[in-house]
Symmetry: C2
Subunit: 444 residues, 2 copies
């Protein structure tokens, strides 16, 4: 046994100075889910666990963090080896985070050394040599810092980021697993609502507004544009965070559309900005990362439409429904979610660390892609917004270029199993790994 010392097993092997290091004993892996969950993040979990199980010579057990990095800090680990192959295989059919997620960002080494020392204490106690973190931009930053534990604090660990964000705002990857399914949900929903509105418009509602999540980048709203395949199709108006809201232009567009088509459907990003630079609507709260908690944009826009144009409206706010909608997940997204989890393990086994698995697009039609890698220090805390040439000149729709980018991401359906008319989603046993360390309090 090499555990318990000040250095990792690999380090220990080198210190012993053997000419040919003995074949390393398998070390355990830590996997956790972070940030807002998606309909397909569990497919990445499944891939990490299944791939690790195929390499027992390299990876011992996969310990999942209960509620993300919090699980590592509080030594609240889940023994995934207690789950059957069937249970693990059901993960890709199940939305949300099977092990619990968290919103907790590690501060810099200089500002919160205690958390890093704690991580090392827990990792060492459970012989963890691999760290797979499944999240977005904030999580990439956490993963980057874990990858630096060797250099900064002498604890060798391979840290690979497994990308996940419904917002599609990570750089250096063609898309983010989780986004394709949200995109499909948005396009399907606004198409269906447009058919509904078209039926009602003659004597009743003429404007329908769907508010979608997406804090700073308009990708999720843009996806609604895929539903409009020919002139007159809804949605006729998309409101992007990248385009400052111009009330007069908006009203003119809606008015012209209703006069021409008879009705108008609108997809509005919750992150729509007022000319002042602030979000047009804020619920008032802030999340644990200090981001404003948004919501309530749709009724605000509806009120503007009613007051200024006198049109009857309906509105919907998709919120969690869109990112949890496993029942209408994109098969392409599912495949990519699995692929990034699998490749993360393969990269770690190959000795890589400090990278994010990426999706590399080789062609649009047919959509050909492969997994790649991107350095984490170029990923963390960078938000990829919509390029201006993905948005039409008037700022209210997507261009053909954007359509060519988005369309492949929503291809394919993959219904989960249904029982009694409802999707059957797995709840794992999530057996706790016995604790070996003292208690530790995570500061908010």
């Amino acid at each position: 046994m090499y555990g318990g010392g000040a250095f990792s097993r690999e380090a220990a092997i080198i210190i012993r100075g053997e000419k040919e290091p003995r074949r390393a004993m398998p070390r355990n892996a830590f996997y956790a889910q972070s940030g807002g969950v998606t309909a397909v993040i569990n497919a990445s979990a499944q891939a990490v666990i299944e791939t690790a199980r195929k390499h027992p010579d390299k990876i011992g057990k996969v310990f999942a963090g209960r509620n993300g990095i919090i699980g590592a800090l509080t030594e609240d680990l889940i023994d995934t080896s207690a789950e059957s192959a069937e249970a693990i295989a059901a993960l890709s059919k199940t939305p949300a985070g099977a092990f619990g997620s968290c919103r907790h960002k590690l501060k810099g080494f200089d500002k919160n050394l205690a958390e890093y020392e704690r991580l090392i204490e827990v990792f060492k106690a459970h012989d963890i040599g691999y760290f797979f973190y499944n999240g977005g931009g904030d999580s990439a930053d956490t993963c980057l810092k874990v990858s630096q534990l060797g250099e900064k604090l002498g604890y060798s660990i391979k840290a690979i980021h497994v990308p996940k964000t419904m917002d599609n705002d990570l750089p250096l990857t063609d898309t983010c697993p989780g986004f394709g399914s949200v995109a499909k949900y948005t396009a399907v929903s606004i198409r269906e609502a447009s058919f509904d509105l078209a039926s009602m418009a003659k004597t009743s509602t003429k404007v329908f507004i769907l508010e979608v999540m997406g804090r700073h980048a308009g990708w999720t709203a843009a996806a609604g544009g895929l539903a409009a395949e020919k002139d007159g199709d809804g949605p006729q108006v998309i409101l992007f965070p990248e385009i400052v809201f111009d009330e007069a232009k908006f009203l003119a567009k809606v008015d012209a559309t209703v006069k021409k088509v008879g009705w108008c459907t609108i997809v509005a990003s919750e992150g729509l900005h007022a000319p002042s630079g602030e979000f047009l609507s804020e619920a008032g709260g802030k999340d644990a990362f200090g981001h404003a908690q948004l919501g309530g944009l749709a009724p605000l826009l509806a009120n503007i439409v009613k007051e200024k144009l006198g049109l009857k409206y309906h509105w919907a706010v998709a919120d969690y429904l869109m990112r949890a909608a496993r029942h209408i997940a994109s098969k392409t997204d599912l495949e990519q979610s699995y692929a990034v989890g699998k490749h993360a393990v393969e990269l770690a086994i190959a000795g890589k660390s400090g990278v994010m698995v990426s999706i590399v697009r080789k062609s649009d039609a047919p959509y050909v892609w492969e997994v790649g890698e991107a350095p984490l220090d170029q990923v963390a805390n960078v938000e990829k917004k919509m390029p201006r040439d993905y948005i039409t000149g008037d700022g209210f729709h997507i261009t053909e270029k954007c359509r060519n980018y988005l369309s492949p991401l929503i291809q394919g359906e993959d219904l989960p199993p249904f029982k009694n008319g409802l999707p059957q989603y797995i709840v794992l046993k999530n057996a706790a790994v016995p604790k070996k360390c003292k208690a530790f309090e995570v500061k908010k």
Copy 2:
């Protein structure tokens, strides 16, 4: 030709006094969609058209009203015979109203004789002897009045109501076509959102509220309860229009649930009543029937939760998305929607009039049902609310009895065809029938 006279063809045959009336020439049928549309109302349209096509000896053409009864009043008729069998067959795969719906209720004969005389003028001009009206309670009233055209104004017509309402609030039928799909959408969505919330609750959101449509009856909210199959499952709280909102009890329930489970999901009916008897939240507008236009309950409840319990929340408002969601329609609902359309034609051919086709439940498990009929004067303007014994004693969930009633209605899936990742919904040609009458202005 028997058209053009003061009496219908049948009447004419009798007046001629022949001993054995000659085999009646086929007369045309009028079909229209009314009120809020659903994911499956077009399945009834398909059934009416397909069944009529099988009886060319009895029914000539099926003319659809463009935008419901408005299409009859304005002589804006659609010739469905111009549509191919394939196009008609695609209707049951397409949500919303393929011919357009309306919110226009005929006033009493004494109050608006002009509209009835106009209907007779148009029906006579197009030799319409069958009237199939596809709608809810208000539409049943319209259908009833049309069925009385013979008795009151001497124009013989067979009028059959084809039930449709997502609200499930029609009496004398086991369920209303359209409801089963909304029920499935609600149960699927709140299950998915509950999985999402469970993932996030440790460090972030702890309460999620889904607002659903349903003005006076809690059926749509109740359906969310199907997602909770065992202790701890979401939703833990359902807010029904039938139970007056008690803020203190509500907060105590949410607080206890979060303390026990870690999170709480809530399905709230838009029609939730305040102790004053008013809707807890009103958007301010009224629809053409004079009903208050609701919306905005979810943020109101979320604010109460935040203010009084200090819990982070998310909320969604389903609105049109739930009733347009053909992609997750209930197969049982689709079958019933088709069956009521088919039976409506069969009843009319058999000489029935002034009735609504009903669904008759023979057993819960297995769910055995058949079509029946109910007299329209007992259907029109009657709202079927949730029986008290369908709601738990504390008023926050459904009972086993309710579950046994609801569960069969959401059974089965029936994905529409997909292309490029999106459901392919048909838009018919909707060719106009040449007008024969003078223009007529419909008063609002």
